[in-house]
Symmetry: C2
């Protein structure tokens, strides 16, 4: 009797794959893949974040890397599963330098299992494991030692010395969720790091946003590394609660977090082989000299404020959404909000809740994704109470999420949004009737692909769309503001709107502007555009990149890194960025395979 369980199928494939790799039989290894195949590697084979998208690319990567990586000890983890002709299996493996974990999807090709997608990820560097679980330090169990210092004394000494008498290996500029998550991982890896944050307290980047803001992603998707939110947290956490959590987290994780500190200028000091980072710490100039510099300022840059004729004549209050104080200051006033994405909707809804007269000006079409449908259809399988019940916590969810190659990701999403259109037909119909211009992305692939490609163009509906549909939030669509007058604005269709407060919910510019100011325009251009996949859709020009540009991986500027994204990405990708930084700091060989070329400055 042939043993044809999914587990047996996967074990058999994995054994053949291991054998081919061990004997450096690259033809044999490549032959185990289907014609349409993808191997996504997070740092373990390539010291890069990159996806090989064909047998030929896989062959080239193995030819370049196999001898050096020397993979071994491939082991199935748990039982494989099969559905819709695809066998899915978790596994662990080792390389010369690291231990890893992966996810494999097999298809039947002419009676033989062949790999369709393969994900390999680095979990830890051998000899540099985190001191967790059975590796915990004992603390008091060490016995007695002459001259021993207490934890508090050691910590105080470290804080006094780092950045003055000793230098950090890594400086992270930006102390939001990205910098904090990365800092926590580097701390566990024993990499001396300083996080530079301009605000007075960790979490202020959330606290300072508009009053009504809650996360648009659900709680299961948003955990930071190492410490989950308590299980009574609301599904969508309020901004101040997140701010307080981030602040507590920096303390619990013992981060060297320099708040009230602004980065002034950074320069690579070729002679010293280190960066020179000039900061103002609580007004006092300090020069830091790290080996590696991470920019974690968010993937967007300066606030975009369009130049509109007459703006200087306006007698009311005008500000970018990032400066919007919330509805209290707008009582009794007429507010115009320019823009129709997340912030515009949230701000309009909060104004309506406080009986403020508000008009939204929609310039171009927007993707609306009702939160409940989004949670159920798009995220629920990986991030929800139900997922937890099914044994998928966010660690597992992150890897499943990461295992879908960007090249075909839209094909996974299009059916989700087709279903969303069916399910939410009533709301979409009424929005259209109210004049709201809807889209579902260039190819109908919806929210997450828009996020990856351009980082804009959508609203996760937590209530405001109903207000737009029923006219509670007034809408002017397909227009822009042509001119601003002292107490009104004129739209491009000639309408004049009375206006006491004008809110520019017009997004953010490219992060490269910050890089240009902080380092130099030349370095910003050498690094090139950040974010986007090269999908050749609006705001994401080709050629195809295969991965997000410049995020969490080596850039064309040595020792300069970009970290960020939403809470999920900050958590998940900080793992791979921290391992890349640790390897460099420890002087391990880190030859980068498939370094992306720069096709666009920003």
């Amino acid at each position: 009797m042939t043993d044809t369980t999914p587990t047996a199928t996967a074990r058999h494939w994995l054994a053949r794959f291991e054998q081919a790799l061990a004997t450096r039989d690259i033809d044999g290894a490549v032959a185990l893949f289907a014609d349409t195949c993808f191997w996504r590697d997070l740092v373990s084979f390539t010291w890069n974040i990159c996806t090989q998208e064909s047998p030929a690319q896989i062959r080239a990567m193995l030819q370049a890397r196999l001898d050096d990586v020397a993979p071994s000890n491939w082991q199935l983890e748990g039982e494989a599963t099969a559905a819709d002709g695809v066998t899915e299996a978790w596994f662990t493996f080792e390389t010369r330098l690291s231990r890893g974990r992966g996810l494999l999807r097999l298809q039947d090709v002419g009676g033989q299992p062949r790999a369709w997608t393969l994900l390999t990820t680095m979990v830890e560097l051998k000899g540099f494991e985190e001191k967790t679980g059975t590796r915990r330090v004992a603390g008091a169990e060490h016995g007695v030692h002459k001259g021993r210092k207490s934890w508090a004394e050691q910590r105080a000494e470290e804080q006094a010395a780092l950045g003055t008498t000793t230098q950090p290996d890594v400086v992270v500029i930006g102390g939001g969720q990205g910098g904090i998550a990365l800092g926590a991982r580097l701390r566990r890896l024993g990499v001396p790091t300083i996080i530079v944050e301009k605000n007075a307290r960790a979490g202020d980047s959330w606290r300072r946003r508009y009053k009504s803001l809650c996360l648009h992603d659900p709680v299961w998707y948003d955990h930071l590394p190492y410490l989950n939110f308590p299980d009574d947290w609301p599904v969508f956490a309020p901004k101040d609660k997140i701010g307080d959590w981030l602040e507590a987290y920096t303390k619990i994780m013992e981060l060297n977090y320099w708040s009230a500190t602004t980065a002034q200028h950074c320069r690579w000091d070729e002679a010293a082989g280190r960066w020179e980072v000039q900061v103002l710490r609580e007004g006092r100039p300090v020069t830091l000299r790290p080996k590696e510099l991470v920019i974690a300022l968010g993937v967007s840059g300066y606030a975009n404020v369009p130049k509109i004729p007459g703006a200087e004549s306006f007698l009311g209050e005008q500000h970018h959404s990032s400066q919007h104080p919330g509805p209290d200051a707008c009582k009794g006033k007429r507010v115009v909000v320019l823009g129709s994405n997340n912030s515009a909707h949230d701000i309009c809804a909060a104004l309506w809740e406080n009986d403020v007269d508000v008009t939204m000006v929609q310039r171009s079409s927007t993707h609306i994704a009702p939160s409940a449908a989004l949670m159920e259809l798009a995220l629920g399988g990986l991030y929800s109470e139900q997922a937890l019940k099914n044994g998928i916590d966010h660690h597992k969810g992150d890897l499943i999420f990461a295992s879908v190659p960007y090249k075909i990701m839209h094909t996974f999403h299009i059916p989700v949004y087709e279903e969303m259109q069916r399910r939410e037909a009533d709301l979409y119909g009424r929005l259209a009737k109210a004049g709201f211009m809807l889209d579902f992305g260039a190819d109908g692939s919806g929210l997450f692909m828009k996020y990856l490609r351009r980082g804009s163009g959508y609203y996760i509906d937590v209530g405001a769309s109903e207000l737009v549909a029923n006219g509670s939030i007034k809408l002017k669509s397909g227009v822009n503001i042509e001119r601003i007058h002292p107490r009104s604005v004129t739209l491009t269709d000639g309408t004049e709107l009375p206006c006491d407060v004008l809110v520019y919910a017009t997004g953010y510019g490219s992060m490269n502007r910050w890089l240009a100011d902080l380092i130099s325009p030349e370095v910003a251009d050498r690094l090139g555009k950040v974010w986007g996949l090269g999908s050749d859709t609006p705001k994401d020009p080709g050629p195809w990149e295969g991965e997000l540009r410049n995020m969490w991986k080596p850039t064309q500027v040595p020792h300069l890194w970009v970290h960020g994204g939403n809470l999920h990405q900050s958590r998940h990708y900080s793992q791979f960025l921290s391992l890349q930084l640790k390897a460099r700091v420890e002087g391990l060989p880190t030859p980068v395979y498939g370094q992306a070329a720069v096709h666009h400055t920003a």
Copy 2:
């Protein structure tokens, strides 16, 4: 074929038990117990923490409580196991008012399974469940509402109002681990609570102790409710790290934590049916009027400082261990430490580490439990990485721990300490040779029983015993200090020791002294002695109580409760105290069965 798996045996017993209880067949229910049997109930049947220690006691309890409790829906949880003739099974059940969880141990009696130990615990009150997991509040998903307030606004309003325009239902005096753990549970249950703490910051009660202090219990045993320590925490956490954790925890859990606040006087206001609690909050008098008052000041009271002739003539520095600043202030001085328990050993070791000349004066015998052996032999099965690997997290560990009746607990411990004596024979031999007076408790049951019976008399050895054995810490044993001179002390054997610093590591008095001062001597006496089991061993006079006196359960003083213990107890028993308080605040009927009489004032 007879189905004789442990699970089938347990299921069969549970079904018969359920049937007997459902039909109010008390004879039938009692017949399901062995002659030697124990039913420990944590609040679910008795609104008390009490153990029935015989079939007759079980019968009496059921006669009094069965109709009212109306238990139902007894369900095995997972598979039962069998070892050494005992079948062990987890189960869930309901009462009229609550849902519960329990642990059952069956013995074979003449071919029939009979209950040897039964633990029933309350998990939640029906209709008052914590909003966790699938019960989370949605946050932003609620949609839009006129006049909605943000989380930060609501929280600020609550903090401004509570204790001024609104009154808390519960006031907890003492904001150490006990008050904080209870506060977190009450918060989740929606019971308005203020925690009063004299120190400036949460965690200061740990921070202010001697510099070298680390927890003597391992990390797995010490978690607070709802939020585990991160998995890289040292096995024995340093005091300042615990202090910082407690401070972060109070913020994360959104406790109404009044630091820098001292309780001045408490009085039950019969007319109002509330307490009147006078506090000084940052120097400003405030009167709080809670329904229930919890004393969480630690189970010990004022520092014990023996009156020794000549103390007033001493020209050096003398202080109680609770005031000991650590070794830095003692450099170059000759230190005498009076006492030989945990604090004495820790202080002596830290002094030796800093090259300070130190002598320990041991008045009576001490139980020494080497930490590694203690962890492995006594705690490892329930609280360790190995336990986690075996599927026993601290939630499960706490219930297994709680399921062993106090009456027979020493019989579980005696073999552990016999093994410890074998394993550590070398250390014990050398300690004895150095003159150190050893004991293993009145009946050889060791550390934990000493802790429960008298709360003193031991050192968990994390290194100092070696220093005593090898003479690095000088030892004078079987003596006391007879007289203090300006620069020396004379011992009862006539020896004179030069002395610049005298540390009284002489423990603490009864908590009732605090109650007497805070409320009145009459109320302190009415409540009676706190802690201890009535084991009729030194410092724990009989009669037998069956449970710790006055801890976490109704006392003879209505609306007055005592909470505390180590981190494990603060975590575990805060669950049952919080449910008792919640039930009373909600006006549920809470008839107490088996209310303990007071046999001793303190």
